[in-house]
Symmetry: C2
Subunit: 307 residues, 2 copies
């Protein structure tokens, strides 16, 4: 099966995938999604990036808020607070349905893959959403306040601690989820979404069989830079690059993916002096659906030019 | 410590306990609550009778509806339905907070007792609410459609199947929760709430150490009949008595508790011809708070007369 594969984290990546669905046949698109952010909270298995893909591609995402579901309500959280429960991770009433069903499914022996596929089917999502792995992988941050789980850092501490190192516990031992390697090996084009390279894309690359498939595939691999006008749209990318001692520019992004990507799509206002990969420009800020389709089209065009 | 102990199931029993709190010092009241209805649903540990006590005594019960919380909303359930999840057991958004916290606490190694006590304290409930046991006990019904878990019968099948026999799986091996035996042994008065004797009170009596404590205690034991004007106020009591071949009258109730109770409080419109226990009358229908206080007062008076 040929098609387009996107390696993606949450919000930014979901926008690119949504754009892609406007310009190619949705059934030919496979999103391979970071699960390094997954964690257990109050006994519930939460997969933030998978959820963002599911909500975004099914039209349920709260785009104004930037995360979670549209038309969300907060009665559960308010009752939880009243009981002294942990409320740093915001669980909406409707959002809870996904977490509860996923947790119950996993307890029954279903895999994250099959649960995700069932929800996607139920919600009429035609693209494939594959977790990178059904095995546990946890993004762990070595910070100036000690070792942190990803959600602790990202949500509870609002990315305030300085990060010295990042590791992906379990990645070395993890097998790609069913379909992941096949999708990469038979793809016409592989895109790396403008998700945080260090926190959202690296977990995928840390799984040996995924890294190998990306090295082996004949498909051109094009990354979309997360930098827009030299800044990150959202999240800790810029702050993190500083803490890791990296200049905040596309040369750093290109070098980070060196040996892996054949092309890098960057914002019209930015440049990149790395010469051994193809570079293309487009306005990469994705606000409207048209923006998303434009970025997807530009990434596909860059890949086609390499091919 | 002396005081009043109430053996209780859910709704009817909670009304008596609430009445009792109007007429004696709340800190002297201990409710020992049926947990035979407890079950796992979507991975959540649900304790329906404990919840009813907690909601009722903290003023959070939805009295119009007869179960659950006041001011409840249903966004979770509607999202769950949309995902094809099991929706036969109605889980409100606020109610979910209790189930999620309890389940997480149990997974951490806390007991049902300590979790219940923490919630009661948080909500300002001064009476003690003790689960009958921290061990798993499950009320199982032998019915004309096969063996049924209690909630399956009670909620999903609306008590429609005919019941031939009832057993309490695990009761023989169960230890009373901390404080249960002590409360019974040191009580001034033990009341059996007007809960269903076969489904809600028998699980407590099936735990050997509770049965022994009730036999050994010097406190008078008074049951409040669940029949009002020869009918049950709510639930399957009358239908079940028919299926078990019992006449629907207070003689059956008195005989069911024979050897255990010293007195039976019955409705003003009813009678009882059993002569080896003390009988008292009061209007036992509990609608207003005044009704509840009246029934509690009558039960205490009957016990005091025996004493």
């Amino acid at each position: 099966m040929s098609g387009t594969v996107v390696l993606t984290g949450g919000v930014g990546g979901a926008k690119l995938v949504l754009g892609l669905l406007q310009v190619v046949d949705p059934v030919t698109v496979t999103a391979i999604v970071n699960t390094g952010d997954d964690f257990r909270h109050l006994g519930l298995h939460i997969s933030p990036d998978i959820d963002t893909l599911l909500y975004t591609l099914s039209g349920k995402a709260n785009t104004a808020q930037g995360w979670g579901r549209e038309d969300e309500s907060w009665a559960f959280l308010s009752a939880l607070r009243e009981l002294g429960g942990e409320d740093w991770f915001l669980l909406g009433d409707r959002d809870m349905a996904l977490h509860v069903l996923r947790t119950a499914g996993l307890a029954r022996g279903d895999t994250l893959s099959t649960i995700t596929a069932a929800v996607a089917r139920r919600w009429g999502v035609e693209a494939k959403i594959l977790p990178m792995t059904d095995d546990p992988v946890a993004t762990m941050l070595d910070s100036d306040v000690g070792e942190l789980e990803f959600q602790r850092y990202f949500v509870a501490l609002r990315c305030a601690p300085a990060i010295h190192a990042i590791r992906f516990a379990g990645a070395e031992q993890a097998s790609p989820a069913p379909g992941v390697v096949d999708a990469i090996m038979t793809a016409d084009i592989v895109l790396i979404a403008p998700s945080n390279p260090f926190l959202s894309v690296d977990p995928l690359l840390a799984i040996p069989a995924i890294h190998k498939a990306l090295s082996d595939t004949l498909a051109p691999i094009v990354a979309v830079s997360p930098l827009v006008g030299g800044q990150a749209v959202k999240g800790p990318t810029v702050k993190l690059m500083g803490e890791l001692g990296l200049p905040v520019d596309n040369d750093s992004i290109a070098r980070h993916y060196a040996g892996l990507i054949d092309g890098l799509l960057i914002d019209s206002g930015d440049d990149c002096s790395v010469t051994d990969i193809a570079i293309a420009h487009t306005p990469t800020l994705m606000v409207t659906l048209e923006d998303k389709a434009r970025v997807a089209r530009a990434a596909l065009a860059l890949a086609a030019a390499i091919d």
